[in-house]
């Protein structure tokens, strides 16, 4: 995650915009397709879009400086002269051309563009043809009618009328399509109804691509459109949430990873190499709820923003005893044992040889938690399913055993990951051992008592809420990235207020992590609260205070807060993720089990790599 952002930052740094300065027909076509997309996505600005056309020359920097100029720019209106502008990124071959060759280079680009112009025209004509089948004609754009294409006889709760204002009013749309323009997923409305809209999106992507560029984003007054191309998939986010482009792109990456977790990267590439216009929905059918769930979590859970895992606060003695229970219930090829309560991590233990090579990334854990949340309808059974952890290895499957330990309440969930497809009965047996041990130690009732904490426990009067994420320091290098945060309490108890606070945090986060002007410390006086964000080499901290706090007060409060966290560290975080070795005789593995360890590597772990 972090690395990706960094790369993007560099890419932006070397961004050069090739100026096809005269408005050539190709650019007009781009303008048309943009406004067509605009018609559909944000009709209020249609007229202006059409007048404005597209400005490809606006340097990215001026745009960024608009955003970063003012402390209070969150509430400020975006300057209206920059309603629609695609930010394009040049690839190296353009920048390495000597200046003298410019002329020929330009003509080459023109050729490409006229080709792609044809392509765009074809795409649009195709889209229109589809619509004409309906016989709907009028002054409005044909794309507006896209939704009527499907007979409404098969309406489900998922199928929204994509022509309705309520559909457009959604805060954040996410679309996934294949490079051939085939719809794969839409967060709202059915993919069929949106096939022409997605066709236009693909036309935009291909058009910019034909000029050796990559389309990254389009800004309008109300919306930000962000594009992400990953292998044969194109992901598009249309957001009115005022989040930064990087944040939105990171969210699209989560969607991509969730798809990978179900199908693996290797199989997706194989499928599309074999058949360019394959309908991936055949394989993803039934998984829409998992993607819906992910997007809801991304919007409401700061774990995704911070790329860190939130674990349930627990007395370290209890956490240790749970870890020991997990450590004792092992079987060959078992790699991770994870205990979850109330959708938060209790503990995680890992096979020794695995942790020496790599660690479990927060993203992978988020995807696992989301999978559990989305598949919990029938909770009495024991689930056995293949799942890929994209950051661990995007091309291979683990086999996940999922079972609840406290039916019928179903709050405590055990997740065991094995590399052996056939190991269900062996792994299920581990669960029974864990269950027995937990009954013996009365663990379930102790877990039931565990809960998140209140900010009042910190004992700082003006502090309303905070998020604290310690960074890896050398001595716990291979540790899971975590963060801690109290419950959101009044005045942030309603859903709207929670979202408002999260939006403020997202804004602070985008300022801290801005690629053009990263900041270390921000003191932000908002309308109804004061926020302070601080990033050092040791931690990243976001705090929210009552509006009347003074700067000096806030600084003192943070000192107190840091001291409190230090004191509570053992309870708030998983300090030392325990390891085990899945050798046949675990009692002897502590000393001299080297050769046995090799064995377990051979029959299990290597098959993954």
């Amino acid at each position: 995650m972090e690395r990706d952002n960094h790369q993007e930052g560099e890419a932006q740094g070397v961004k050069i915009c090739d100026p096809p300065s005269e408005s050539n027909p190709a650019a007009d076509t781009l303008a048309t397709s943009l406004s067509l997309l605009g018609n559909h996505m944000f009709p209020d600005s249609v007229e202006r879009n059409e007048r404005l056309g597209v400005n490809r020359e606006v340097p990215a920097d001026s745009l960024l400086s608009d955003v970063t100029a003012e402390e209070s720019s969150l509430d400020a209106e975006t300057p209206s002269n920059q309603i629609m502008k695609p930010e394009t990124e040049c690839q190296d071959n353009v920048s390495t051309q000597p200046a003298a060759d410019r002329g020929t280079e330009d003509s080459a680009i023109d050729n490409d563009q006229s080709n792609s112009e044809e392509f765009v025209v074809t795409m649009l004509a195709k889209a229109k043809l589809e619509e004409q089948g309906l016989g709907v004609k009028g002054r409005s754009s044909p794309l507006l009618e896209a939704g009527n294409q499907e007979s409404p006889a098969f309406m489900s709760h998922r199928d929204e009328d994509v022509t309705a204002d309520s559909w457009r009013a959604h805060r954040k749309h996410v679309f996934v399509l294949s490079e051939a323009g085939k719809p794969i997923y839409s967060r709202y409305g059915s993919e069929e109804a949106l096939s022409s809209t997605m066709g236009v999106m693909m036309a935009l992507v291909s058009f910019v691509q034909s000029g050796d560029n990559i389309i990254r984003s389009v800004y309008s007054e109300e919306h930000t459109v962000v594009f992400l191309q990953k292998g044969p998939l194109v992901l598009v986010c249309v957001s009115s949430s005022r989040q930064s482009e990087q944040q939105l792109r990171a969210e699209l990456l989560y969607v991509y990873y969730q798809i990978i977790s179900m199908l693996t990267q290797a199989s997706i590439s194989r499928i599309f190499e074999h058949k360019k216009n394959y309908d991936l929905r055949r394989l993803l059918a039934g998984s829409e709820k998992i993607l819906d769930g992910l997007l809801n979590m991304v919007d409401s859970d700061p774990s995704f923003l911070l790329a860190a895992v939130h674990c349930l606060p627990l007395a370290s003695s209890l956490r240790d005893s749970l870890s020991q229970i997990l450590q004792k219930a092992i079987t060959p090829n078992l790699v991770f044992s994870i205990l979850i309560a109330k959708n938060q991590l209790l503990t995680i233990v890992q096979e020794k040889t695995v942790i020496e090579d790599t660690r479990l990334e927060p993203t992978d854990i988020h995807l696992l938690l989301n999978l559990i949340g989305a598949s919990s309808a029938f909770q009495a059974g024991e689930i056995w399913t293949p799942i890929c952890l994209p950051l661990f290895n995007p091309d291979c499957y683990f086999y996940a055993y999922i079972s609840y330990l406290d039916p019928p309440e179903c709050t405590v969930c055990l997740l065991l990951l094995s590399t052996d497809k056939e190991a269900f009965y062996a792994v299920a047996d581990c669960k029974r051992k864990i269950e027995e041990a937990m009954v013996a130690q009365n663990s379930l009732s102790l877990i039931a008592k565990a809960q998140s904490y209140s900010v009042s426990q910190v004992g700082v009067s003006d502090l309303r809420h905070f998020m604290y994420k310690p960074f890896d320091v050398p001595d716990n290098y291979r540790q899971l990235t975590q963060f801690t945060s109290p419950e959101m309490e009044a005045p942030y108890s309603s859903e709207e207020e929670k979202m408002r606070l999260l939006d403020l945090y997202r804004y602070m986060h985008s300022r801290i992590h801005s690629t053009s002007r990263p900041l270390k410390l921000i003191y932000h006086v908002a309308e109804r609260e004061t926020l302070l964000a601080w990033v050092t080499s040791k931690f990243e901290l976001y705090t929210c205070f009552s509006p009347l706090v003074t700067k000096a007060c806030a600084i003192t409060a943070i000192t107190k807060l840091l001291r409190w966290i230090k004191k509570e560290e053992d309870r708030l975080f998983i300090r030392y993720p325990p390891k085990y070795s899945t050798t046949p005789n675990p009692s002897k593995s502590s000393r001299g089990g080297k050769s046995d360890q090799q064995d377990s590597t051979d029959n299990g772990f290597l098959s993954l790599l």
Partner: protein
């Protein structure tokens, strides 16, 4: 597999197969928990242990999605009974049984029995509204209101039906008849190289059920369990004959003794 010995040993294995959205999970849920509720698409497969009299029957509820197709033959390994499920309102779901799912059963026992089950009978048949099973009808009615995941239902009856009579006007077209299912059963026997005369008759092995109302659900599972009883008994017998010592049994006995003596 040595690992298997440690688990409470299932006597026999039953597998539910069929296309997505035909209602495999709902069928099982109706049988196990006597309820019909909204389910989400199954991931992979889910394992259930059913205590049936003195016997432990393991039931695998598999995902119908193509995504998990590769796992199918694993779930079927050593199965004593396979329930091939289709949706009576969807002809394709019956065709899929033959095209996609039949080959998965190659890993099942050679004497495995096959049941063909047409679910969602309540949508096409008014008699399926009157539950033949012991469940209270009033309870069913309230649960029906929770609705289903399948789009057909929502479109067919936007408001829950007050009585079967009012529903009959909204009946969906039955795309798969019982004769189609019987014909498929014959083809399955042929695929397995079994004689029709020596096998269980199609009339006995083709069911139409409704997980929503409970119609025929218990009848299906109970009939099937009765039919696998011989293979349960044979397996138990084989285990007794087996020259290997069952450590689990010994440990269980000694463990109990130890506990009772110390307390």
């Amino acid at each position: 597999m040595p690992d298997m010995s440690k688990m409470k040993k299932p006597d026999v294995k039953v597998v539910l197969l069929g296309d997505m959205n035909v209602g495999k999970t709902s069928l099982l849920h109706r049988y196990m928990e006597r309820k019909f509720k909204d389910t989400v698409s199954t991931v992979g497969g889910a394992f259930f242990l059913k205590q049936w009299g003195p016997y432990n029957i393991s039931i695998w509820d598999t995902a119908g999605r193509e995504q998990f197709h590769g796992l199918g033959s694993m779930y079927c390994r050593g199965a004593a009974a396979v329930i091939l499920t289709y949706d009576v309102t969807n002809w394709q779901s019956l065709a899929e049984l033959e095209e996609r799912f039949l080959s998965l059963t190659d890993t099942a026992n050679h004497d495995c029995i096959y049941a063909i089950v047409g679910n969602k009978a309540d949508l096409t048949d008014s008699k399926a509204h009157l539950s033949r099973d012991s469940d209270g009808q009033s309870e069913n009615q309230t649960e029906c209101e929770e609705g289903r995941t399948e789009p057909e239902v929502l479109s067919a009856c936007p408001t829950p039906p007050a009585s079967p009579a009012s529903l009959s006007g909204l009946m969906l077209h039955k795309q798969v008849t019982r004769e189609d299912a019987v014909a498929l059963y014959g083809r399955i026997l042929r695929y397995k190289g079994l004689e029709e005369k020596s096998s269980l008759p199609a009339e006995k092995m083709c069911f139409e059920t409704s997980a929503k109302t409970g119609y025929n659900v218990d009848a299906l599972f109970e009939a099937l369990f009765d039919l696998v009883l011989p293979s349960i008994l044979r397996k138990r017998h084989e285990n007794q004959e087996s020259p290997t010592v069952d450590l689990e049994e010994c440990r269980g006995v000694s463990g109990k003794k130890a506990r009772s003596s110390c307390c």
